[in-house]
């Protein structure tokens, strides 16, 4: 009945309400714990259908006299309120609106169209704010806001917008609905929780009977469906008869466990596949029910790699070429493909069909993954997190270990990330100590010049009559004794004005008392010129060598030059210093300390290379050797 003025008008015969899994009932009151929500009472119920499923929307009256709607789908709950329809700019008409489209509604913010459908009013009870004629078709578009809000554009039965609703998703516990039935009680009340497979006779236990509309027998694989008339859906009919299981799930369907602190029941498994360059790739998706919040999540297994997936708010995702950003995390595009359902097992809340396909795009930010699925009338986003198989084995109490992962998963985190952080901390600490030691050595160092003298080469080499041996003997000198005051290294430096010439000085540092001798060579050579208009030069006029662990004592230095007669420089300078700190040693320590992180960086680069080899940008498959 509809109230028009003072008269009541009959709208038609209202069909019987279809039993649904809704936890709400007419007359329930709520004191929401969620901020911004006032206490309300459920005063009306509208039942709607797209032909693929039936759902409820509850008309609620707030204590401030305003009204709104409480909607639910797949374990998610929204409270919305009517607002004046946007005018600047106005929303597109229904034929122009498309899933995935981004709309800017001025002060209302930005929204993404997630769903665009036609539905019909199937039944109703209680007070409703408008006349919902049973069987009347209406059009709507669901929106997801960039600020986490949700919205609906209600087009009614014409292309123009009739009403605009905006609200927020609210967890069931946050709604504070009094007298709420628990999940376990509700499932028994709605439908039987056990049945015998009509195909093979095996006994099946349903975990989510209130919501299940498809069951694939876990013994024979036959697909069972609820009759079209949901009101009498006490039993399932055979939709497709199979003789054997189409695949063997790795997780026990119907099993329960805890993952990341949340209790889950495993409802069903879907074998999916895609074809790339003629090659079929398979993976399995396990439908989970989070038994506390009633939300549906997924565990996706591909080549032994596991990912826990939850719905993501499409409005909060922004995309750019090869990039998606969700709640501050940047995800790189990994691959896009068309996924199709190959086989199903277990129970499902939607009419899953073998062969149904969807366009999927995956974006990764290991260990997270963001996925977009596009259907004709709908676009959905989900976010997943990599789960090591050991976590699953303990979380679900699996008796046998899960298969070892093969290759690198698309969102598998690099296994040495924690080690790398430890390495970098170690390098930072040890490098700091090394620098401190270097500063200490510099403060403590003598750098004392123990010998310094210029040695003449000019006289002997310019006289052509002198024999070579005589020149060598004439140029060889043994210095007067000098003191090396402290044990340590000695720095020997040669400096000569070589000009397209060279001089080599064989040196021996000799301790007078012990006869301990340290032999070394010093060379000065410098060549330069112009070749093809380009200036060039090579060599060095000065060079330094170090002699290690020289004890303190009294020393002499023997110097025997070798040179090219007629081209030698006129002189060379020799300087000896004791106790000179070595910057090169510090650099060697730092380089050696970096070897660990460098090895890990190479390991990471190889790991990423193998990951991306499996992407749209890989051009082939990576090797299977593990890190």
């Amino acid at each position: 009945m509809s109230r028009k003025g003072a008269n009541l008008e009959a709208l038609g015969v209202v069909a019987e309400l279809v039993p649904t899994s809704s936890p709400f009932r007419l007359g329930m009151t709520a004191k929401p714990k969620a901020a911004g929500l006032k206490p309300f009472r459920i005063v009306g119920r509208l039942q709607l259908s797209t032909g693929e499923g039936t759902w409820d929307e509850w008309h609620v009256s707030f204590e401030d006299g305003r009204y709104g709607w409480l909607a639910e789908a797949q374990g998610t709950f929204w409270v919305t309120r009517p607002l004046p329809a946007p005018t600047n700019p106005p929303p597109p008409d229904f034929p122009q609106i498309a899933p995935g489209q981004r709309l800017s509604f001025g002060g209302y913010g930005e929204f993404t169209v997630t769903d665009r459908r036609q539905a019909l009013y199937t039944s109703a009870e209680g007070d409703l704010p408008f006349a919902a004629t049973p069987g009347a078709v209406f059009m709507y578009a669901d929106l997801s806001g960039a600020d986490g809000s949700v919205g609906t554009l209600d087009y009614g039965d014409d292309p123009g917008v009739d009403a605009f609703f905006v609200g927020r998703p609210v967890a069931l516990a946050e709604l504070g609905v009094e007298g709420l039935e628990g999940w376990s009680e509700r499932k028994v009340a709605a439908r039987a929780s056990s049945l015998n497979c009509p195909a093979c006779g095996a006994g099946l236990q349903l975990k989510d009977p209130a919501n299940t509309v498809r069951v694939a027998c876990t013994y024979c694989g036959s697909v069972l469906a609820t009759p079209q008339d949901g009101a009498t859906a006490a039993k399932f009919e055979v939709l497709a008869r199979l003789q054997k299981l189409p695949f063997k799930p790795l997780l026990p369907l119907g099993g329960e466990g805890t993952l990341r602190g949340r209790p889950y029941a495993i409802l069903g498994a879907v074998l999916k596949a895609c074809t790339v360059d003629g090659v079929h790739y398979y993976w399995r998706e396990y439908l989970l029910k989070e038994t506390k919040s009633e939300a549906y999540h997924w565990l996706v297994e591909s080549n032994g790699h596991w990912t826990l997936v939850e719905p993501a708010a499409a409005g909060e995702v922004s995309t750019a070429p090869r990039l998606a950003v969700y709640r501050g995390t940047r995800y790189k595009h990994f691959q896009s493909t068309t996924a199709r359902v190959e086989a199903v097992l277990g129970e499902f809340y939607w009419e899953v069909k073998k062969g149904e396909s969807t366009d999927v795009s995956d974006y990764v930010a290991p260990p997270r993954i963001l996925s977009e699925e596009r259907y004709a009338n709908e676009v959905t986003w989900s976010e997943g997190s990599y789960v090591p198989k050991e976590e699953l084995e303990s979380g679900f109490g699996l008796g046998a270990p899960l298969p070892t992962p093969e290759g690198v998963g698309s969102n598998q985190p690099w296994p040495h990330a924690e080690t790398a952080r430890g390495f970098l901390r170690t390098v930072a600490l040890f490098a700091g100590i090394a620098v401190f030691l270097f500063v200490f050595f510099n403060i403590k160092a003598d750098r004392k010049v123990v010998y310094q003298k210029r040695h003449d080469l000019s006289v002997s080499t310019t006289d052509p009559t002198i024999a070579p041996d005589a020149i060598a003997e004439a140029l060889t000198v043994v210095t007067e004794p000098f003191e090396v005051p402290r044990s340590g290294n000695v720095e020997a430096r040669i400096d000569a004005p070589t000009d397209n010439s060279w001089v080599y000085v064989g040196a021996v540092l000799l301790e007078e008392a012990t006869g301990q001798a340290y032999g070394f060579g010093l060379q000065s050579d410098y060549y330069h010129g112009v070749d093809g208009g380009e200036r060039w030069s090579e060599g060095s006029r000065s060079r330094t060598v170090y002699v290690g662990r020289v004890p303190a004592g009294r020393y002499v230095l023997r110097l025997e030059p070798e040179l090219e007669r007629g081209k030698a420089p006129p002189y060379y300078d020799i300087r000896l210093r004791s106790g000179v700190p070595r910057f090169a040693h510090l650099m060697a320590v730092l380089v050696l300390l970096l070897l660990g992180p460098i090895a890990l960086a190479i390991s990471k680069a190889r790991f990423e290379g193998r990951r991306w080899a499996e992407s749209d940008y890989g051009g082939g498959s990576g090797s299977d050797d593990d890190e």
Partner: protein, 56 residues
């Protein structure tokens, strides 16, 4: 395990660096070390050119 091994490696490296800095140790070069015969340590012995070139 890998991390512990690297910490041990780093500690040994720092110990070696500290020892090298204090002892004046140098990386091996072409420098040669030897002892001149006791009889040649007189002022005339190693100061003579023939002492060094006699073996050639």
């Amino acid at each position: 395990m890998l991390r512990r091994g690297f910490q041990v490696f780093g500690a040994l490296l720092l110990t070696a660096y500290a020892w090298a800095g204090l002892a004046g140790w140098e990386l091996p070069t072409n420098a040669k070390k030897g002892v001149v015969a006791a009889g040649a340590r007189s002022a005339t012995g190693f100061r003579a050119y023939s002492f060094w070139t006699g073996g050639k």
